[in-house]
């Protein structure tokens, strides 16, 4: 098992999943990179998470985000959860407006269900999703009194991007979605949320002739989506979103019409895969993860708060089974600027370096340092056991190298490595060969891990 194989697999699982335990990582390496990618893009082959256990131990809607984080940590099909998070980024829908957690969580469930399928089906489900309908006011989009909010964002932020349609296209797109609404749900009080199903009201639908992107006829919402997914602009737009989310940070979406992609060839490769597969997202993902540009993109992304939190939890090995307290990690991502289910605007979260400012960095570092400070956690115990297995006392340089390996593997710059080594040198040779020695050096290990997860490099995924 070469170090490069391990590092590459760790990269894949940070991006296509939420990190791994060391044991999981080694099992993936044995399986082989292409095989792992193939399994990731075919979640139907894997064993789904045990929904009965989730229902039994976490079964209340208030803890949905915590339960989602539990899914991220424990799903054997982690790309499915990552894609739910991806679409949540792209089709940002705010709980703050609808205040209906069941509608919002049903939307995430929908992303999980269809998120790796065809773009046509994804957009159709999105257009019928009550949380989205309410978020962008399509429940007020009626024949004779259209509301263009959904039609505009569908084209601008969800599928084509600015510059690939006209104002008239927006107006006609909106008319095609008139009457797409949802059944009024029973209100929350006094007995809880009820799911609002989609409703098409024929009497409120505009059946007039419309022209959209050069197509003319009595177009409805389905027709609009069929036209959208055939546009090369759609392929490029979604490909750039996938590149930004999985490969390397791009500028924020509103600037995409004036700022070209950092790797135009990569976007074209993905767009070709999109067009050649009738917009099948799992195929595009397969091309992406097997591409050289992806393999070369290690540590070229700032971890989102969700990725940072789940990565740390994978490192320390907690929540591998149901236990109380998972909901606190929803609060942790919120403190770092990512309140799941409630993105700040329809643009979603600004990513890359915008994940970090002085306050947010403090929240990220404090969280990571706190989580690795308990030596009794399974992941820390696993590192101790591996250091024991190493046999000989470790030089300070070897101790630092081992800790970086087990915490990632993480690549750090010379300055960081120098600081870490200087810290380790204060303790001479470091011995984990027996229980007494391990106990003696446990505090040193914790301190070293705290320094590593507090480093600049650890913010990158």
């Amino acid at each position: 098992m070469s170090q490069n194989d391990v590092a590459l697999m760790a990269h894949l699982m940070r991006r296509a999943g939420f990190g791994t335990t060391r044991t999981e990582l080694e099992a993936y390496v044995v399986k082989g990179y292409e095989n792992v990618v193939d399994d990731l893009v075919h979640p139907e082959r894997g064993t789904p998470i045990d929904e009965d256990i989730l229902e039994r131990y976490f079964g209340s809607e208030g803890g949905y985000v915590g339960t989602w984080i539990y899914r991220m940590l424990n799903s054997l099909c982690p790309l499915q959860e990552k894609m739910a998070l991806f679409w949540h980024h792209v089709f940002a829908t705010g709980l703050g407006k609808n205040q209906h957690i069941l509608a919002s969580t049903n939307q995430i469930d929908m992303f999980r269900r269809v998120g790796m399928g065809k773009m046509r089906d994804i957009l159709l489900e999105l257009s019928k999703d009550p949380a989205m309908i309410f978020w962008l006011d399509n429940n007020e989009n009626r024949k004779g009194e259209p509301n263009e909010n959904y039609g505009r964002e569908l084209l601008e932020l969800f599928s084509l991007g600015v510059g690939n349609y006209t104002e008239d296209d927006i107006k006609n797109c909106a008319l095609a979605f008139t009457g797409w609404t949802f059944v009024q749900p029973i209100p929350l009080y006094p007995h809880g949320y009820y799911a609002p199903p989609f409703l098409f009201i024929e009497a409120e639908h505009d059946n007039s002739e419309k022209t959209f992107l050069g197509h003319t006829g009595n177009l409805n919402g389905d027709d609009i989506i069929n036209i959208i997914v055939e546009q090369p602009a759609c392929a490029r737009f979604i490909s750039r979103h996938l590149y930004n989310f999985f490969a390397a940070d791009e500028p924020q979406v509103p600037s995409w019409n004036v700022t070209p992609p950092q790797d135009p060839d990569a976007i074209e490769t993905l767009a070709d895969a999109f067009m050649g597969s009738d917009g099948h997202i799992s195929h595009v993902l397969s091309v992406l993860f097997n591409a050289d540009f992806f393999k070369a993109a290690r540590f070229k992304k700032v971890k989102s708060p969700t990725e940072l939190v789940t990565g740390i939890l994978k490192l320390v090995g907690t929540f591998q089974g149901p236990q109380p307290g998972i909901a606190q990690y929803a609060s942790a991502t919120q403190l770092m600027g990512q309140k799941l289910l409630d993105p700040p605007t329809v643009e979603g979260w600004h990513t890359g370096k915008e994940w970090i400012d002085g306050g947010l960095l403090t929240a990220r570092v404090n969280f990571a340092v706190r989580e690795v400070s308990d030596a009794s956690k399974p992941g820390i115990q696993d590192i101790i056991a591996r250091l024991k297995d190493n046999g000989n006392p470790l030089s300070p340089e070897a101790f630092v190298e081992s800790c970086l390996e087990f915490a990632g593997p993480l690549v750090v710059g010379d300055t960081t490595r120098q600081y870490l080594t200087e810290f380790a040198e204060a303790n001479g040779e470091i011995d984990f060969r027996d229980d007494a020695a391990a106990a003696e050096n446990q505090a040193l290990l914790i301190s070293m891990l705290q320094l590593i997860v507090a480093s600049r490099e650890y913010q990158l995924g």
């Binding site: 208030g62 009024q184 029973i186 929350l188």
Partner: protein
């Protein structure tokens, strides 16, 4: 008083609803106290408590606190009352039993985590026998254990499997007035009946959504007639079986607004309008009930987990003597006598 020779099942109508969201959030179980007092166990993320109510929907306040300290609970599953109205709660995370008096004062905690006889590993259902010994469903060890009320180990039975007397993460338990024990075998989608020493008597139910079938059943109770009530959580219903395990009927929910709900809604114009725009039928149905409790006077209480309330039904069954109930028949008949 022995069991009747037979029953004239005159009806089992819905009676009323108790409480609402903001008070009984996510009720998981209910204990029946004296003089109409009820103890409703509520559990969700990072919170758990006991709401004390009456059958007349009066809120008597809260008892117990979420936590891991003395007298606290983290993942409570079942609540029961003894003959003195002391309250016992199982905690499947802290692997212990916590007891309070009826005023909520902590009076005892016992339980040690482990899989040896007398240790607890995810205790779920608990129930007293007629002598007030305590049966505990030790869910993660797939067994039932019997203790004195103070936690002294008496006996155990069961192991992992799906054969007779075996379990797969069992959940609820009930004991009848004769001392027989009924266990809901959660992951095997069935219930099993044992005598007081753990000898297998019979099982009923299988996976499915038809009458008499289960989808991850959670709770069980038995009334003075020997009728058995199973909280069929995954099918959003309660099912009633006779003493032999024959399916009798199901309860899907018939909720109306409780007294406190009505008072709340009278000062909330917007939700009143929304209710007027909505299809209201779903609001009457049960949502993921995890338990059921029946009182000696024929009331059935269903903590309606997903709707933050308790639905109450009244059993109108009339006991029949041997003169009023003909002998059992081997065959069905069309003959009208």
């Amino acid at each position: 008083m022995g069991r009747p020779y037979g029953l004239l099942r005159a009806g089992f109508p819905y009676l009323k609803c108790l409480s609402m969201r903001r008070t009984t959030n996510f009720p998981v179980d209910i204990a029946i106290g004296k003089e109409g007092r009820l103890y409703i166990l509520c559990r969700s993320d990072n919170t758990a408590m006991i709401r004390k109510y009456t059958v007349e929907d009066e809120d008597l306040g809260t008892m117990g606190r979420y936590g891991q300290g003395e007298g606290q609970f983290t993942w409570p599953v079942t609540i029961i009352a003894d003959s003195e109205e002391n309250i016992y709660v199982s905690d499947e995370y802290l692997h212990r039993i916590v007891a309070f008096n009826s005023e909520g004062e902590h009076i005892g905690t016992w339980g040690e985590h482990g899989t040896d006889p007398g240790q607890l590993n995810g205790p779920a259902g608990i129930a007293f026998d007629p002598d007030e010994n305590l049966y505990v469903v030790d869910s993660l060890s797939h067994r039932v254990q019997k203790f004195t009320k103070d936690g002294e180990f008496l006996l155990q039975w069961g192991s992992y499997g799906d054969g007779e007397g075996e379990f797969n993460m069992p959940w609820g338990v009930a004991v009848d007035e004769l001392g027989d024990v009924y266990v809901v075998d959660w992951r095997n989608d069935r219930a099993q009946k044992f005598n007081a020493e753990g000898e297998f008597l019979f099982a009923f139910g299988k996976s499915g959504s038809g009458n008499g079938e289960f989808n991850r059943p959670a709770g069980i109770d038995v009334d003075l007639h020997g009728d058995m009530y199973v909280a069929d959580r995954g099918n959003d219903r309660i099912q009633l079986f006779n003493a032999e395990g024959r399916y009798v009927q199901k309860f899907l929910g018939d909720a109306t607004l409780s007294k406190v709900s009505l008072a709340y809604m009278m000062t909330n114009a917007s939700p009143n309008r929304m209710r007027d725009m909505a299809d209201l039928e779903p609001q009457k149905y049960l949502r993921q009930p995890k338990s059921v409790a029946v009182s000696d006077d024929g009331l059935m209480f269903v903590p309606d987990f997903g709707s933050y309330r308790v639905q109450v039904y009244q059993n109108m069954a009339v006991p029949l003597t041997e003169q009023e109930f003909s002998p059992p028949r081997r065959s069905v008949t069309l003959h009208q006598e």
